[in-house]
Amino acid sequence: MSTDVKAAVDAAFRDEWGRIVATLIRTTGDWDLAEECAQDAFAMALQRWPKDGIPGRPGAWLTTAARNRAIDVLRRKAVGAAKLREVAAMSPPPEPGPVFGTETDHSGVPDDRLRLMFTCCHPALSLEARVALTLRTLAGLTTAEIARAFLASEPTMAKRLVRAKQKIQHAGIPYRVPPAHLLPERTPGVLGVLYLLFNEGYSATAGADLVRQNLSAEAIRLARVLARLMPDEPEVAGLLALMLLHDARRGARLDAAGDLITLEDQDRALWDGAEISEGVAILEAALRLGRPGPYQVQAAIAACHATAPTADHTDWPQIAALYGRLLEFLPTPVVELNHAVAVGMARGPMAGLELVEALAAAGKLAGYHLLPATRADFLRRLGRMPEAAAAYRETLELTSTDAERRYLNRRLAETSGQA
């Protein structure tokens, strides 16, 4: 097969899979049938396109093929005429290009992917089930790929998917975008699943399975779709911006040995400038809507780092202020610790140390290695070496990864040497 056809099918798969599955689920009400027919349509494309040529509108060709396949299957199952008419009326994607506008039974441009996202991320499903369903139905990953990405066996993952689909059916989880008054409580659930997917991929080490590394790209792709479908939700754009700004630094994050390189030591020439500009532009457009939220604030923090020409040019007062703002949305001890770090950079180690000591005194984050690590860093910068060394030792006891232990041992040698 020519590489052209292979590339065309791959591109169509990325662009059309989720849309075709989502529409078939709506018209047939049958999740398994929808996946099977979508799969068959792509298999047919691989057979036919090399002979017949790549169709002018691959999405329309695939939609029609999948729809016809569904009609065949339903005919054989002898379902009623009404259902058949509904499936037959399933429209190919509108031309040209991406759909702007929200989900829509009214605007005439149906995009069922939004329903599918909200259903896959319904709070009645376990988080694991939400993640697996999203990857299977919206991103088109195979069960085997999802299993590999989450280090589960294939039968375990298959069972998880079957149970999730059964629960949707048996519990009556609706296949629709929640009404406006429920959106504020339900949208964060969808964003949470996408961000989790992104982080799973982002934290994957260089040696990790490629499927796992690709989770970030899948998450960004789905966030782009969601941002197009919900243009009035600044937090959706905020999440997309946040992902892009993190992803832009991907190439500079690990050294040759696969160890993490801290932000300040990264080679900024390796950052993806185009991705940073896109992230910043998306964030600015979102902020203009005047409804800030935790993703927008986190993206703003990431933008401060990403746009600083050198580590020394980092706008720490701004970052400290943003962490203060983030605490209003996410009042968690981890955010408090990050706030303390930023304050320490903006106003000096004494100011940061006071915040960290307050956190420690409140018993928050006990056992979390970054708490003594941050304390140690402030103490070292204040020249209080014996205390710093003690804090580094405490950190070492809580740290399990080799790379972090190597770093800490270096610091410990520095501080105890001068003690």
């Binding site: 009645a124 048996h170 519990a171 009556g172 989880i173 609706p174 929640p178 429920l182």
Partner: protein
Amino acid sequence: MRYLLLICGDESAAAHAEDGCGGWTEDMQERGLLRATGGLRPPTEARTVRVRRRKLLLSDGPFAETKEQIAGFCIIECADLDEAVQAAARHPAAGYGTIEIRPFSS
């Protein structure tokens, strides 16, 4: 879809036994969503029946010894789980006890 709402509470919920449902029942009836409803006497008055090897085994009290007790139930008809959740959330008992939503097997 049909859902069973199990109204549960710990012993402190007994204080609400005579509260009534603050118009919830009437509202649900008006919408045509309520199929059945009832409040229950406390579990201390329960009898539990099992038949094993053709022998009737009777015991006092509820089958499961849990802190949460079933104080009442409703059977409602809703389009989907989201509607059932909203209906349950409007029930006054959701404010002091818990309401378990169980879809009927079709």
